[in-house]
Amino acid sequence: MASSPSIERAVVPRPRETTARKISVFLSQHARVRLAFLLSAPLFWLGLVYIVALVSLLITAFWSVDSFTGEVSTQFTLDNVITVVTGSLYQAVTLRTVGVALLVTIVDIVIALPIAFFMAKVAGPRLQRILVIAVLMPLWASYLVKAYAWRSVLSQGGIFEWLVRPFGGESPGYGLPATIITLAYLWLPYVILPIYAGLERVPNSLLEASSDLGAKTGRTLRTIVLPMLWPAIIAGSIFSFSLSLGDYITVNIVGGANQLLGNLVYTNVGAANNLPLAAAIALIPIGIMIVYLTAARRTGALENL
């Protein structure tokens, strides 16, 4: 190096020993440190903000509110949880909410499958790109405006009645059917996209091989496409199910007088100012989602979200 430093440098530029370089060398030799560097910020954020918030909500469910002063008492009590589990109102609303969320999910999957299939396997690359844009674009129209648009579509004298009246039909009006239609409409893009991505991953060669071996379309769909697509379908269903489970605004706009779990939580936080009871009610959707996610995890769906 002392003999001809300039020539050697010209051939292989030796990196300068800056601090950044030293850190870089250290990091490339220590995978665990690199991992710690990558993980610390996200874990700090999610752990501090989210887990602490969630755990303290769980704890709050076992507190109570003094009915005279309105102050929260931090004495451990099972009262709220017992009220929620045994109260007939809560049972009825839970069943209604789960029913609505399931129906919304089924409607969305049934609608998403053909359109996703057309997008992924029939349309040419140009049409495919246009369809992806067409599916994504409604996501940018405000959720509230879309719910309100359905209120206007389904209203008396609205466009739905105007369209079906010549055929002797009538609008379902405001109620649970309107809620299901509106929620299914709102979450549809979230279900189409993962299913479309899942279908894109099914190689065309497999479908051709299946047909070369004599399988009819129905059989190919059942034995080749569906098993490969299953995780993507479950992934999509997580969105529509969870989003429906917690909604209280759509049902206010198009649901008439019906209440879902979200409405009960909302009134207890706001008007009734009873956070412990609201937290206890919130345990229901948390519990349902934990069961749902655990089941979904086995299918590998979480990799497909």
């Binding site: 991992l35 887990i51 053909p114 609205g158 969870s242 605004i249």
Partner: protein
């Protein structure tokens, strides 16, 4: 499987019908933004440009759009950084508790918004005792936006493989240089797609926002909820919704084009 011609046509027709239903309510919003009726009668009794003129002078709406854009930009920036870090960690390393971390990223979006909303409301007000405001909305939004970035980036990392990064390291590039010149350029369109989705998610979020916004902070969805049921404001809300959908075509189009161009290169 070779689809027969009738099958293709049927599928195409079904797709067309579904798109028709998807765009029907948006069409109603569009037409109502020109309607002389303020209570959504169909067909509209007459047409006017009055609401379009008023919407662009409505200070409340313009302020709300600015607030929402500010929140969405900050939340997207945070979620881009955190989402990229966590997907690099999960895709490039094996470690104990990896599944738990991936579940932790998904949880804020997998749990209903109202749960996330009251949990964060309780956390901000009673546990760390901060005033609700713009910053609390940003923190809440960033938390559930991480997952959209994470999904896009981790899918890209999986497809990329590690051979280019290894080659870069073999040629003497350090950790930073490899990230800047090799990893990041390959992630760019995934980051754009994830970032766009995060922005859209934050811009439109109402449930978590209701619980984490202070009294003085009005995002666009909060403003819309306040004005939706007022007879003279509802048509203005329609105008704003139409403008947002039209404006959104631009970023979606470019994201799609970028993704398409990258696909062609391969």
């Amino acid at each position: 499987m070779r689809l027969s011609r009738p099958a293709r046509i049927t599928l195409g027709t079904v797709t067309g019908l579904i798109l028709l239903v998807i765009y029907l309510p948006l069409l109603v919003v569009f037409v109502n933004s020109f309607s002389t009726s303020t209570n959504l009668t169909w067909p509209p009794p007459g047409f006017t440009l009055e609401w379009w003129g008023k919407a662009f002078q409505n200070q409340g709406a313009l302020d709300a759009i600015a607030t929402s854009a500010q929140v969405a930009v900050l939340a997207t920036a945070i979620s881009l950084v955190l989402g990229t870090l966590v997907s690099l960690a999960l895709q490039r390393h094996k470690f104990f508790g990896r599944d738990a971390v991936s579940l932790l990223v998904i949880l804020p979006i997998a749990l209903p918004g109202i749960v996330t909303g009251i949990a964060l409301n309780n956390f901000f007000r009673t546990i760390i005792d901060v005033r609700l405001g713009l910053l609390t909305i940003v923190i809440a939004h960033a938390t559930f936006c991480i997952v959209t970035v994470f999904n896009n980036v981790i899918a890209r990392l999986r497809r990329m493989g590690t051979s280019l990064e290894e080659a870069s390291a073999d040629l003497g590039a350090g950790v930073w240089t490899t990230f800047r010149l090799v990893t990041f350029p390959q992630l760019r369109s995934a980051l754009l797609a994830g970032g766009l989705l995060a922005f859209a998610l934050s811009f439109d979020e109402i449930i978590v926002t209701t619980f984490t916004a202070g009294a003085g902070v009005t995002t666009l969805p909060i403003w819309i909820l306040d004005n939706l049921f007022r007879p003279n404001q509802a048509p203005i809300v329609n105008v704003i919704a139409v403008v947002l959908v039209l404006v959104s075509i631009v970023p979606i189009y470019f994201a799609q084009r970028l993704a398409g161009a990258e696909q062609l290169q391969k």
